[in-house]
Amino acid sequence: MSIRSKIITASAVIGVFQGIVLIGSVLLYAAQVTDRPIWEVSQILALFPGFSIASVLAPIVFASFVISVLLLIGYIHYVFLSPIDRYKIAAEKVKGGDIGDLVETDDDDELSVMVRSYVDAIKRLKTSYDQLSGSLHGQYAVLGHDAEILRLLVDHLPLGVFLQKEPDFEIMRMNERAAQLIGKNTLMRSGISSFCKLDSSPYPFEELPNVVVQKTKILETRSDIYFRYPDMRMAAFRMTSVPVLDANNRLLYVISTLLDITDMKEVEREKSDFVSLASHQLRTPISIINWYVELLNAPEDMEHLTEDQRGFITQIKESSARMSKLIDTLLNASRIELGTFKSEGTMFDIVQVADIAIRDTMALAHTKHQTIEKSYDLNTPLIYGEPKLGQVVMQNLLSNAVKYTGDGGLIKVGIESHEEDKSAHVYVEDNGIGIPDDESSRIFSRFYRATNARDVDSSGSGLGLSIVRSLLEKAGGKITFKKIETGGTRFDIILPFTCKNI
């Protein structure tokens, strides 16, 4: 029964009693006012003669009033309060998280319907929640599994990997291999590079690939770096770093890999050594060919040769010269591949070194009828450094001067001692083909050969000056050159009395 019908029913019942109250009150009042017996006022009541209507009516009215009040209270409790209490208890239960046994009601009054709807809604919510919860657990399990696989993958990679995150690029993560290769402590301290170069000089922190990428965001930077383990073993790594950028080109992460290339470097070194050895060995048969050709060319023997035969001999000579040059190139290249020369500091005399270099080029200079003038300050102190440095520098400059100067040319070699900058100033000047202005900035670049040099000698390697410059700079010296107005070039070298970076 709906609340509305309940209210109507109750109202009707109460109304009946209130009606009695009302009629009775009117009758009593009328009797009082008219001072006539009640039975006169109400003809209906004549049916009950002999009774004092007043004495019966008053209690009836009073009783009706009381009953209707009680009914009202009872009704309110029954229709409203009791159910509300029940639902309040249920609500408390739900609030407490217990939606297990909710109060059910079959009543179809508005309140019950409303409550039943809410209960249903809550039950549905609970079901959904349970489902969601279950499915989420499932997802976590899968994700967890994936994460586990990923972690396994990264940890077992035969490659060291580590990640740095902005803003301060501290190392957030490193895999097992990276930790093994270089130890957890090494990389973790920023600002310090525990790596070194092939010659054991420290590898500057700012030049490490991961730091370079941090500063420049260049895609993929790699470098070969070396690491000395506590037991003095040297290992070689290739470090490659890549940036991870967001949509606005902002640097988020730097990811780096470390590949152990110690074995590879060893193989490279062996190859280099092999090339060196083979090249040296090849010089013996070349020497033999040269000298026997020379014997054939001896004036007393030459008369017995035909024109053709003399031509043949020339061919042999030239071919031998080509072989010789090739071997020199191979030797140079294999030395360069090693990246460095042995670091041994000793005292050497730059004057003597210059003289030896001059003698070495004397053969060619002689053929070209060139003159080499020397101007030495014999008080130049001995140089402390790698003797190889002096030799390579002088040999290179002299051989270039002789090569790129024509017949009858003049080459000047000077050595001066300068106390004010504690170094020897050496110059090599020629009146040869010179260096074209537009190419002068590039002549120290590896493999670069000026166009006019190429015309004179197509087979040069282009490595000489780059080696000379890097050796000099490493030792704390310097090389410059200038064009001679009348033709030719002058190279000036500053060689410190005490070389650095031995």
Binding site: H280, R283, T284, I286, S287, I288, N290, W291, Y292, E294, L295, A298, S324, I327, L331, K342, E344, T346, F348, Q352, I356, R359, D360, M362, A363, H366, P387, K388, Q391
Partner: protein, 131 residues
């Protein structure tokens, strides 16, 4: 054995026979008395026995290499002042450095020098001695 004053003696210490023979022939044709040795040991013996005016010395040789022979020779009274020109195909600078330290007058790379160049150098060194 007495040194021959008029005809200078040159000792060639070289393990590569063709090279040694060619050089011997060239120098002999230019008026020198030649002695030949095939390794450092033989070279040392001959040097100390015959006291040549000049020694042309190869570095890489079997039995005893050039540098070892040079060092051993320097210990000898005569050997201290013997004139030595190193002839080699090594471009290893440490070898050249060491030989110069041990008193070699010069260091020539065979593949780069003609025998004429060697001859000139021999004459130059010997004429200096004569003065």
């Amino acid at each position: 054995m007495m040194e021959q004053q008029t005809i200078p003696t040159v000792l060639i210490v070289e393990d590569e026979t063709p090279l040694r023979k060619a050089l011997a022939r060239k120098l002999s044709a230019s008026g020198f008395e030649i002695r030949e040795a095939r390794d450092g040991e033989e070279g040392l013996q001959l040097a100390l026995r015959d006291h040549p005016d000049l020694i042309l010395l190869d570095i890489i040789m079997p039995v005893m290499d050039g540098l070892t022979m040079l060092k051993k020779m320097r210990v000898d009274e005569w050997g201290k002042n013997a004139k030595v020109i190193i002839l080699t195909n090594l471009s290893d600078e440490s070898a050249s450095q060491q030989s110069l330290e041990n008193g070699a007058v010069d260091f020539l790379v065979k593949a780069a020098w003609t025998m004429d160049d060697v001859l000139q150098r021999v004459r130059a060194v010997l004429s200096r001695t004569a003065q």
